[in-house]
Symmetry: C2
């Protein structure tokens, strides 16, 4: 058992951004692809995303939402119909103008001028327009409502500054789109999706979040209301990890989504949309990573337990491998958190101690090292990723009988899941402060403070010019308003921006 600490080169407290890049590289989550702003998601990173997908998809299906698939390309004219929609965010998009390549006569290829599209196609930045068209065809009567669809897809937004998982030109997401008979039904769905995201973030990702309504200036373009879940990263910044929009009847009007009600009258539908993306992987890293790499909550760990046989390239290895294979099967037949335990027996060549550090950096919840003597004695040695070091500064391996470990393995995984959540929640709660005046806000976010956290303020929720002024004052401090929590206590006193009577609480923070 090596006592050498193979931590990362960069510590979180020294350079959080550099640490983040290092975790992604060292845990082999993703890498630059050579295509501007697009990443390659490597097996460990993609395995985590697949786990997220499956557990989110179960929840989406349980809510009675049907998965569909809509085209990657959207005709340019669809965007012109939605002027407000486009003005908001969607001008930076990948535009397809040709459908063929030809030789340039110099050994290279160029777009064929003879094969120019009559109408350019946009690579979808989101699918409201094209799904709206389909809903217009599918919905005739009140009997067709609610219509609830979701798709898992790649989308492209041409980003100038990209950061892996957090902001990439191409990313993977799910986008739910639903149509309802009235405001009540649509608002119910908007808030159901929000609560699904909150529960998913906290129970699956072990990432505490605030579910709440975004201020008007942060609404999805064209939405009547936008809700989000906001998580605090270990540098105190906020990450918007999922959004749910009540779109009113604006999108329905543009796309012609209407129905005949029970009285035979034609009515516009009320629509919603809601999404989460590969950004959640970034959130996971910045919530649970430590100075030794990633720590993956067991619910989304592709391997929850890795078994490392201490192979010696000798005939005795056969008995050791047989013991480990048997252990793998016994563990894999047990359940943790309602699913079979996911166990890998890592038989690759190489020293167990070296391989161990690879799995530590990847954040596998439980790592077992098994030597020849362990096999003979029916023992195992195990270290828990969230209890990696003992007080003597050595790797915190514990030896125990095989049967004893089989008995506690599921409980250890469940405890680790709960511990990661509790640790993250304690850290977050310790870094939220109530602030009563704008001066206090400025002091709270003083440039000298490295990772200040979030301020909870009271405000009067103004609109128009007054709101714009607040947004600009905050922008000068590199701050944004995040959201107004759903379960906030009532307020009294004055708005810290306007001095008028406060209407609600809202979080103010630096953000990704």
């Amino acid at each position: 058992m090596s006592a050498i600490r193979h931590a990362l080169n960069t510590k979180r407290e020294n350079d959080f951004a550099q640490w983040y890049q290092e975790v992604i590289a060292e845990a082999e989550l993703a890498e630059e692809s050579g295509v501007r702003g697009c990443m390659v998601i490597k097996p460990w990173g993609y395995g985590i995303w697949e786990r997220m997908q499956r557990l989110m998809d179960d929840r989406i299906k349980d809510a009675g939402v049907d998965n569909c698939y809509f085209p990657l390309f959207i005709p340019l004219s669809y965007f012109s119909k939605e002027a407000e929609h486009v003005d908001g965010f969607a001008k930076e998009m990948a535009v397809v103008t040709h459908h063929r390549l030809v030789s340039d006569g110099k050994g290279g290829l160029v777009p064929d001028p003879e094969a120019k599209l009559e109408e350019p196609l946009i690579v979808r930045p989101t699918s409201e327009t094209v799904i709206g068209q389909a809903m217009g065809r599918w919905i005739q009567s009140w009997r067709d409502l609610p219509l609830m669809t979701n798709q898992w897809a790649n989308v492209v937004r041409w980003e100038m500054r990209t950061r892996m998982f957090l902001r990439t030109s191409e990313f993977l997401w799910q986008e739910g789109h639903t149509a309802h008979a009235d405001r009540v039904g649509a608002m119910e769905e908007t808030l159901r999706a929000l609560e699904m995201y909150r529960e998913f973030a906290e129970d699956v990702l072990a990432m505490p979040v605030i579910a709440g309504e975004k201020p008007e200036n942060e609404r999805f373009p064209g939405a009547d209301a936008t809700y989000s879940i906001e998580a605090m990263m270990q540098d105190g910044k906020a990450l918007q990890a999922g959004t749910s929009h009540y779109l009113g009847t604006g999108f329905a009007k543009a796309a012609g989504i209407s129905y005949q009600d029970r009285e035979g009258q034609q009515q516009l539908c009320h629509t919603t949309s809601w999404g989460t993306s590969t950004r959640m992987v970034g959130g996971l890293i910045m919530t649970h990573g430590d100075d030794d790499g990633l720590r993956v909550p067991p619910a989304v760990a592709p391997h929850q337990i890795v078994i490392l046989p201490m192979l010696r390239d000798k005939p005795e290895d056969a008995a050791l491998l047989a013991y480990c294979e048997d252990l793998r099967k016994a563990l894999g037949a047990r359940q943790a958190m309602g699913e079979k335990i996911r166990v890998l027996l890592d038989k690759r060549p190489g020293k167990a101690a070296l391989k161990r550090w690879g799995w530590v950096k990847k954040g596998v919840p439980l790592i077992l090292e098994i030597g020849g003597r362990d096999a003979e004695n029916g023992q195992i040695t195990v270290v828990r990723r969230d209890q990696l070091w003992n007080e003597a500064g050595k790797v915190n391996f514990k030896a125990m009988a095989r049967e004893a470990f089989l008995g506690i393995a599921a409980g250890e995984l469940e405890d680790l899941q709960a511990s990661l959540f509790a640790e993250a929640k304690a850290k977050r709660d310790a870094n939220i402060s109530r602030v009563s005046t704008f001066e206090e806000l400025e002091a709270f976010f003083a440039p000298s403070k490295k990772y200040p956290g979030w301020a909870e303020v009271q405000w009067s929720r103004p609109t128009g010019v007054q709101l714009e002024e607040i947004v600009q004052r905050l922008k000068a401090l590199k701050l944004t308003m995040r959201n107004t929590p759903m379960d906030a206590e009532p307020v009294s006193g004055a708005c810290i921006f306007t001095g008028e009577p406060a209407a609600e609480r809202i979080y103010v923070a630096r953000a990704y």
Copy 2:
């Protein structure tokens, strides 16, 4: 129980192509999207695809292949490196040339001339080039081999004539890409993937296929050998439903995929690629559909059993619904084919008989209709989709005690799965004929024959000009050579094309 037959308008024997379109529309599998060549996959069609994905993905993971995700966009220059690759098939591609839209000053939008990309990006038609680049980075030593990756992704090939599921500009697929130390390892993987596809097609899709090697002229551009699974559709045409390629060292050379062997020498890797796509949904339709719509094999049916309560909009409905809900739970707790039975209780408003025809056209394996009296007596009424009509020409409903049905439900699903396969295999085998001369071949495919099937011939496997001549002679008859089966009996006698001694058997057919 209505005796009216709600069959489709078109029968298979009258117009197979029209029938195919009608099944897709009536079973609500997919529809045109308004975007040229791209379809919208609707919930029932996508549900079938999701089942295919999950069961294929299990097999891919079991083989030790890791899922990854690679960029949608491929720089144009990557294609220039692969001249042969491009000449073969890939010139018709979607080309991204701009990354921003601007107002055209007339209320519309146009690509921004200020935002022209320095290098155009191609929407991936397949990912050999970009995955090859990554493999070049990831592989250093023999210890890194084999490297086995797969991705589930959308790809785009600009098709002039499209047909839903069979040939669309955008389609969904999985593409496996692997790198090996030598030819033996790569060929083993090529054939493993081929066998995985055969087993999947036959055991999961209940679609009999011939697994074999494609003739040289049908190889994937740049491949040393291409293998396929070929299925016979009910009009006698062949459908290539999956391919597996041994790429030799050509792609490795172009992408720089090399490794240091145990002796310290630098060696090129041998690579493979293999793929299946949403085309399989088209194959499923044309293999199992009948004149009443689709019949979905239970293994891929999103709902294996649908329960239709005969609601009367009266207070008694409550007891009926409670009975049905209880039945749904009891069925859903049971297993068929190693998984929980997937049951839907269809509570939508509307007459049960009308809703029944919707599910018949969608091809649900077992449909239950439950009336108030059934509920009182603890009975159910069931019809099996592959035994829809009785001898009197009425819907073949069978009444039985609830407990009796619970006892046989799993067996009925498994039997239906086996029956669909047996039926399709009998049909296919009856439509393959051995043909000994070119004249017999011409007679076999005489224009007067509507659905001639496949001819099995012997040939000498010539190359070069001689092969090209054969390809052209077949093309004049609208025929292609499909593949040489892996398990073919030895041959004797003469090649039907050249008269030279035959080397192997090969199938000749019209094809999708």
